[in-house]
Amino acid sequence: MSDTQQVKMMVYAALMAALTAAGAYIAVPIGPVPIVLQNMFVLLTGLLLGSRWGLAGVGVYLLAGAFGLPVFAGGTGGIGRFFGPTGGYLLGYLPAVYMVGIVSEKTNRNAFFEVSAMIGATLLVYLIGVPWLKIAANLSWAKAMGLGMYPFLLGDAIKIAAAFAIIKAVRPVLGGLNS
């Protein structure tokens, strides 16, 4: 990748990190649990920037939150969020964005594989987040999944559909990214 392309990717990675932070503020009232859009932007980061730069974008988002910038859901921040019961979900964003990015790159942006990768990445976030919640709060598996997974699945399905629609619309405009 040329220096010019690297600068371009750097700018977009920073903006995607900022968009992810903005997504934490946007709460859409769907069903019993309002959904926040930060994980939709995590998926979009992977689709748009690929595995390496996607990982950098999400990594810097988490780093900003760890150092206290109010970028997590509810306008919170601080390293304490990583040690709390919901810390696993935040850390799960890293493998999730990498997974979406690498699948997008290796399958030449095939729509079927990209949607499958987003579903897999969402499950990956739960795969790390739910056991973390279970251990941190000493819950049974059923309770941990009841509190930390089932109520959000509908919202996740909508976010995956929305991310797919957005990426289809945005890619032709942004052209050269992740290629």
Binding site: D3, T4, Q6, V7, K8, M10, V11, Y12, A13, A14, L15, A17, A18, L19, A21, A22, Y25, I26, V28, P29, I30, G31, L37, L44, A56, G57, G59, V60, Y61, L63, A64, F67, G68, L69, P70, V71, G74, G75, T76, G78, I79, G80, F83, G84, P85, T86, A136, A137, N138, L139, S140, K143, L147, A162, I166, A169, V170, V173, L174
Partner: protein, 250 residues
């Protein structure tokens, strides 16, 4: 969003080398995070309160931040005592409250409050620009630091954009509900946010190319040695050692 309410101040904590404060905050929070004894967590909270007092932070601003954090902790207090699988229970009317659940909730609350307050005192007392340059001097990847600084910059730009779009929707009489109109409006809002962000990224990229950006931000900030640094390091080392000793009941 005021992300730096504590950055400007004249306390001695503000004058300590930013690199030392970053290292101290990380070490201190890891010690608290892995501690389990109340004998460690209680003094930990007291030390954090002392640090915020030494940093002369605005009590109202600290309280506001703590209230947001307390919102999350309140959920734990509602959930854990009722769902924790423990041995001893306290009967409160029809509810069986787990004593271990209460203990765990208290531990999580103490840890969260102590770590958050220490970060307010040690990290939030420097500007994000200083944080970036200090991280860079600590050997963190230059590229990651630049990304952090740029993200910080765009955070406010996008927040303003988001509020502008929301205001516009409100002026048009939009009230969020659980109907298709609401979802369509949110979809347009997110779409616009994304497009504006992409346009801005393109402009920033062109501007950086025009200026011959070579992957490095320069700064005139330096971190001179001072007696403050020595005092601070000594104090934090004593605090850390004390907490470790208490955790192991020595």
């Amino acid at each position: 969003m005021d992300a730096e309410p504590f950055a400007s101040g004249r306390s001695w904590v503000h004058r300590v080398d930013a690199r030392l404060r970053i290292i101290a905050a990380l070490v201190y929070s890891v010690i608290l995070a892995v501690s389990n004894e109340f004998a460690t967590l209680m003094p930990g909270l007291i030390i954090s309160v002392l640090l915020t007092l030494m940093a002369r932070l605005d009590a109202i601003a600290v309280s506001k931040r703590l209230l947001t954090i307390l919102g999350f902790i309140a959920l734990i207090w509602v959930m854990l005592p009722l769902t924790y699988n423990g041995d001893s229970y306290i009967q409160l009317g029809p509810l069986a409250i787990s004593a271990e659940g209460v203990g765990l909730s208290a531990r999580i609350s103490l840890k969260t409050m102590a770590i958050s307050m220490s970060f307010m005192a040690l990290i939030a007392t420097m500007s994000t620009a200083t944080l970036g340059h200090a991280l860079s001097r600590l050997g963190v990847s230059q590229r990651l630091v630049i990304l952090l600084l740029m993200t910080y910059r765009y955070l406010f730009v996008l927040e303003n954009e988001y509020h502008r779009l929301r205001r516009a929707a409100r002026v048009r009489g939009f009230k969020p509900g659980t109907d298709l109109h609401t979802y369509r409006t949110y979809a347009y809002l997110v779409g616009m946010l994304f497009i504006r962000a992409a346009q801005r990224a393109e402009r920033v990229y062109q501007a950086m190319r025009c200026r011959g950006f070579k992957g490095r931000f320069f700064t005139i900030a330096d971190f001179p040695a001072s007696p403050n640094n020595f005092m601070f390091s000594l104090l934090m080392a004593i605090f850390a050692a004390g907490l470790i000793l208490m955790e192991f009941n020595w």
